[in-house]
Symmetry: C2
Subunit: 228 residues, 2 copies
């Protein structure tokens, strides 16, 4: 599904160039669950943003589902993103003035799903992440972990082909975190969703099939996770 | 240092009352390191905000350093906060348009510290959290874990008597997280700072002297941590 070749990403601070990704080669097969690990500042979110078509690389090539992402117009890029990809952002990116319900409905609204179906699907997912009763809270009326779970529900409601999750359990207690991972696995079994998850937690990475490690802008390690 | 008796906190959603804290009795001795644990949504941030004079309880009494917090004016409350308490917020609360350097200098600016001293102390703390070279990045030019460490540096720069840290390592890889905890311990030894830390991570809680557990708005468990 995801084919990255020689991906580079530089940031610019005034006259200074800051190379963050220095040549990433990575293939993620359809239906795979992949964990990305690495130290703070090693480029994980940067990589996820590129895979998710939220940012363009400085160099290299990226094919998503066979399409050369570099050749797409902005409109085509946004369409790839909206139809195929679900995001759980590191800092949630919830709409501050919208309720939990409305935040989760948002991808469906963009997809043109009718109101009654939007409402039912969003409420169902909020229940699955343990937030029944909180539908009408706006983000400031939710705890950190509750906000994170709204973000997770929003990422899943559109049944994406590719789920990108950036530290999806950082704000959650162990039990709630495992419930979320169990939900990802369940969806993976049901729909074959491809999952790329950034995590610092080895016990979460162990739920994936493969782990890659970033360091100094390149993939320095890869291992297959053995299932017992 | 911190004496809470019968603390209650209710939130209001329209006509509905949501009781979150239902009677918290808690004493935190000067120089103690205390961990607060509990499930997502159990009231940990709510409790920390009350201890930190950022929010008022609905009921109960709170004495900080012998002063009855309920009897203070807004000005006196803000003074208690600014002079005695350092915060690491769950969502960092950095100033989006200020550099890392300026964010860390901010408590010193409020305290009337001269510019040259502000600059030196902020730079020194950024170095201690591993962010030398990042002083001039604004938050959008920093990773999630880097932003968290700026927040930590800002909480410590004013040498607070009381440090309140809400999930201070959620965005950090294990090694960086342990470096931050080592920094808290070092400061605890040097200055005797009292630390109240919310964490979901038992391995971090194990660095504290005592752990309390919140559930359904009350303290349901307490244990002393045995040092090997
Ligand atoms: N302003 C508010 N209005 C209504 N309810 C609120 C408000 N703030 C928090 N709550 C609710 O109060 C409860 C406790 O919130 P709090 O942020 O203290 O939890 P927490 O223990 O810090 O959770 P987490 O581990 O997820 O950060 C939650 O159920 C939350 O939805
Ligand atoms: N807009 C930007 N301008 C300049 N530098 C940036 C920008 N965004 C990120 N960086 C830098 O690029 C590096 C990688 O950032 P990235 O957010 O990808 O790291 P990360 O691996 O996700 O870290 P974390 O685990 O802390 O979230 C960091 O050193 C960061 O300071
Ligand atoms: Mg990141
Ligand atoms: Mg919280």
């Amino acid at each position: 599904l995801v084919e990255l070749a020689g991906i580079k990403k530089d940031y610019y601070l005034g006259a200074q160039t800051v190379p963050v990704l220095r040549g990433i080669d990575l293939t993620v097969r359809r239906g795979e669950m992949l964990a990305v690990m690495g130290a703070s500042g090693s480029g994980k979110s940067t990589l996820l943003n590129i895979i998710g078509c939220l940012d363009l690389p400085t160099g290299g090539s990226y094919r998503l589902d066979g399409k050369d992402i570099g050749a797409l117009s902005r409109t085509e890029l946004a369409e790839q993103r909206n139809r195929k990809i679900g995001f759980v952002f590191q800092q949630f990116n919830l709409l501050a003035r919208a309720t939990a319900q409305k935040n989760v409905e948002l991808p469906l609204l963009y997809a043109g799903v009718p109101a009654a179906e939007r409402k039912e699907r969003a409420a169902s997912l909020l229940a699955r992440v343990g937030l029944s009763g909180f539908e009408h809270h706006v983000p400031t009326q939710l705890s950190g972990g509750q906000q994170q779970r709204v973000a997770i529900a929003r990422a899943l409601v559109n049944r994406p082909a590719l789920l990108l999750a950036d530290e999806p359990t950082g704000q959650l207690d162990s039990r709630t975190g495992l419930e979320v991972i169990a939900l990802f696995q369940e969806l993976h079994r049901e729909t074959g969703v491809t999952v790329v998850m950034v995590t610092h937690d080895p016990s979460l990475a162990a739920f994936c099939e493969r782990i890659i490690r970033l360091r100094d802008g390149v993939v320095t390690g890869e291992e297959r996770v053995e299932k017992p």
